[in-house]
Amino acid sequence: MTQQLPEWLDPSPWLDGGGSSPADVERALGCDEPGPRELAALLSPAAHAYTEIMAQRARTLTQRHFGRTISMYAPLYLANYCTSGCAYCGFASDRVQPRRRLEPTEVEKELDSLKGMGFEDVLLLTGERTSHAGFEYLLECVSLAARRFHAVGVEAFPMTTREYAFLANAGCSGVTLYQETYDPFQYDRLHRWGPKKEYLDRLEAPARAMESGMRTVGLGVLLGLSDPVFDAVCLLRHAGHLRRIHWKSGITISFPRLQPQAGNFTAPVPIDEAQLARLVFAVRIVLPDVPLLLSTRERPEFRDGMAGLGITKMSAGSRTTVGGYAGTEPGTDGQFQVSDQRSVPDICEMLRGRGLQPVFKNWDSVFRDGEAGGRG
């Protein structure tokens, strides 16, 4: 089953023209209010020659809006049970690997070790909703995290507005939900079975999270799955749509790139580093005030170079295995390979060396009470 894209998402008006010319790229760079047209031009092959100019622009805009700071966060994998069959994921239900979830006492241990590393912003991750790790479980984990951390985010299955409101009440301030790809045909092909096959349910979940009063919603596509220009223009339109309706919630954008993992899936549309960099620059140019994230999927040298050039938020010292921080249990395989294995102090030192300040606390739990749905 595939569906028509909703009008507010459809990128086709900006993709029909085929390639962009250098003149289009220059126009995009000189534009006061760049939008989807400009984004498409900045991602066209003609823009390749402008990469350095784009990087400069991206850095200027980033400094203007975020100063010389990089926010730090840590992901925490709670469980790797999953009923879905995403072709690209190491946690898909047909992949043979040890399945596990952290029990509440183990979650506390993991949280404590992250806290000991200096983090104040944690992102809790699970796979698809299962009986092992469903909503109630997630809610409990959020409460445990909110007792220790100022900022708690969740990257999990799509939920109902009511469920998101419960999470917000428990202290969750952010929800991350990547569409993976906005291309409905490719989406249908890659999501072989399971609840995640529901394209529209996933597409509409960020709006539900915002409606519930969630402060920030993280969007993104899994780069490598589909045409990056199609996906990027959709992403921009999705962000714009959400901002117009749910104007009190913030948006962040991440740039996960497909890495080799269990199942030997190869990216159908591989994206190289130069393309990834240009994508980050282009998104910064069209969305100057949106925090942009880069995970430890990328190699250290690339992360170092991108810090402050558009990227304003980074994970550090990440483990993508369930129970990876406190080292409590025989590990599972990770969801993806961590390329940047450096310790938190090493990454901080690198950032400082580049004239950037690693910021661990950029939020205060005192702001929490008013969070859940219904507040003005």
């Binding site: 203007r64 948006i251 004239g355 690693p358 005192v366 702001f367």
Partner: protein, 268 residues
């Protein structure tokens, strides 16, 4: 006419006297050391610090520790991050506890992207905090009516924006600022949007009591030198305001052949 010497040029906010007319923000520097150096170079006496950046257990990115060690600096915790009045009030109370300062910059911006202040929630928070005895300095839209309303509920100053935070578009709100300045009984401090020292000077020339800058210094090529440049500009702007600018458009200059010469014919 020569001015004989200069009286000490101070301004008063909430009963506290200050001579520097440059306020500094702290959240965007590359490290605490640069921030401290810039604060020192600016000669500022009021520094704002976001509660959301203050660690209760001091960490290396904690802003409060290094600022507390500076002498002659008044801390003004801000409620940046609050989306409504009740969040801002909670943040203000906690900020007072942590900093020991009665000053609070009420900052309520429900939209986390452009960070425009919410006039309705700002008014509500300012009203309650002023009644609690805070020295309330609200970050506000450049709206002359709101300005009077905030003054009426006991705010110590007004902090209208020059343009959107981080936009670097300078004094885009000049016309509204003029109306605010004309009627204000409390100090008006331009906050947000300034990019260059000349814009700060222009704000002081207009009659603003002070300006607050952060990005303009922190994101410049040399934050410490830029902080010093802002200090000079603010002083120049203030001196120009005291000296009195020449009138615009030659309004009082006399033409060699008077335009109204014909009027005298009748009376002869």
């Amino acid at each position: 006419m020569k001015r004989q010497g200069k009286l000490k040029d101070e301004w008063i906010v909430g009963g506290h006297r200050f001579s520097s007319r440059l306020l500094m923000g702290t959240g965007k520097f590359q490290d605490a050391e640069t921030m401290v150096e810039a604060v020192l170079a600016s000669g500022t006496q009021i520094v704002t610090v976001a509660l959301r950046r203050v660690g209760r257990i001091p960490q290396e990115d904690d802003m409060l520790g290094p600022l507390r060690r500076l002498e002659g600096i008044t801390l003004m915790p801000n409620t940046s991050g609050a989306r409504n009045a009740s969040e801002a009030i909670r943040a203000a109370r906690l900020g007072r506890e942590l900093s020991g300062s009665p000053f609070v910059k009420v900052e309520i911006h429900p939209n986390p992207h452009h960070l425009m202040p919410d006039p309705i929630e700002t008014f509500e928070a300012a009203r309650i905090l002023a009644a609690e005895g805070f020295v309330v300095m609200p970050y506000m839209p450049a709206d002359p009516v709101l300005a009077k309303r905030l003054e009426d509920v006991g705010c110590a100053s007004l902090m209208p924006l020059g343009s959107a935070i981080g936009s670097g578009r300078g004094l885009a709100t000049t016309e509204m600022l003029r109306l605010i300045l004309r009627d204000a009984r409390i100090p008006v401090i331009v906050d947000a949007g300034l990019r260059s020292p000349s814009e700060a000077a222009a704000a002081l020339e207009m009659g603003c009591a002070a300006v607050l800058v952060n990005s303009a210094v922190a994101a410049s090529g040399d934050p410490i030198a830029m902080a010093a440049a802002f200090a000079q500009a603010v002083e120049a702007g203030r001196n120009a305001n005291l000296a009195g600018l020449m009138p615009r458009g030659g309004g009082t200059a006399l033409a060699t052949s008077p335009l109204t010469a014909f009027l005298s014919v009748e009376g002869q």
